[in-house]
Amino acid sequence: MPATTEMGSGRDRRGASRRESGGQARGPASARPRRELPLAARVLLGLLLLALFCALALAVLSLPSPAPGLSAAVAARLDESGVSHPVTAVLLNFRAYDTLLELTVLLLALIGTWSVGTAHGCAGSPPGPLLRQLPRLLVPLMVLVAGYLLWAGAHAPGGAFQAGSLLGGIGILLCLSGRPLPRWAQGWPVRLLALAGVTVFAALGAGAGALPGGALLAWPPGWAKALILAVELAAMLSIGAILAALFAGGRP
């Protein structure tokens, strides 16, 4: 999984500039009480927020009790969606736009993070013996559970996001235990993984729209299960890669 980068001289340099700027930042600490809000303003703010709480609570209490939810609408079309778990059906079929744009948001966050700086390794101190050995035990298990969660998402709680966050956890664990990504993987493989989710999702969605009588992101009923699984697989890899890269905190 993607993650960290070189930990050599660049890191030392960065550490030095950090310490320097830390010294600068400590200056305002003495002036901190002056900067805080006065007590009267805090009390006023508290009262205003209490009023906001009461207003929101009233809004919740005034909701109709048998809620006009969308459960019935989802249940009515569930057997056409290709999966039997209603949340997955909503995520990847009925409201697939949300999920596609969510993957886009993840990608944009990664681009933003990469554009403000380079990663400087996540292991703050040399990892201890436990942390060095832990990935040997945990990573295969986490891959297995991620695969299970991806498959189980069709009929039970689970799916691409849960599996993807497990993969992201693998990246973070490897990063923390001082096993940076090999250099060959820091170039296009990471970028390809990060792009995979949006690309596959958008391509399959557009393909579904090009079918006769199809619409954008409307899976043809017979193919829905296979298409959703393909999208989820790509999304899982993408989410894992992006989360771990976000943790690393900069472009490799």
Partner: protein, 121 residues
């Protein structure tokens, strides 16, 4: 129809609103950007709790037909708010990652971790 399910939903909805308001207070009061990010996360958690709580108020008919007794078969929660919360969690994580990267950058460039423009020393 003030049954137990509805009472639970209202309770957790109020908890979610309380988290939202507490996070908003911290967001306004604290100057340090890391605290502001934490406050934003607490606010988003409040919204998620609120959504999940309100998803419990699904109509009875969806459970097991109109003839099924409502007390025996609790209605499954509305899946649409749950899916939106799942989306929201991922977006919140992505936004948090980006914000933290921006804070690190701000600190390494300007040497401060607040949005205060006054020169202090």
């Amino acid at each position: 129809m003030m049954d137990l399910l509805w009472t639970q939903a209202v309770f957790w909805a109020l908890v979610g609103i309380a988290l939202l308001v507490i996070g908003l207070y911290a967001l306004i009061v604290h100057a340090h950007l890391l605290r502001k990010v934490l406050a934003l996360n607490i606010m988003s958690s409040g919204v998620f709790v609120l959504f999940i709580a309100l998803a419990r108020r699904a109509p009875r008919e969806a459970a097991g037909g109109a003839d099924a007794p409502a007390q025996v078969v609790p209605a499954p929660p509305d899946p649409v708010p749950q899916a939106m919360v799942l989306t929201g969690i991922v977006v919140a994580v992505a936004a948090t990652g980006l914000l933290l990267a921006l804070i690190v950058r701000l600190r390494s460039v300007a040497g401060r971790t607040t949005l205060d423009n006054r020169a202090d020393d």
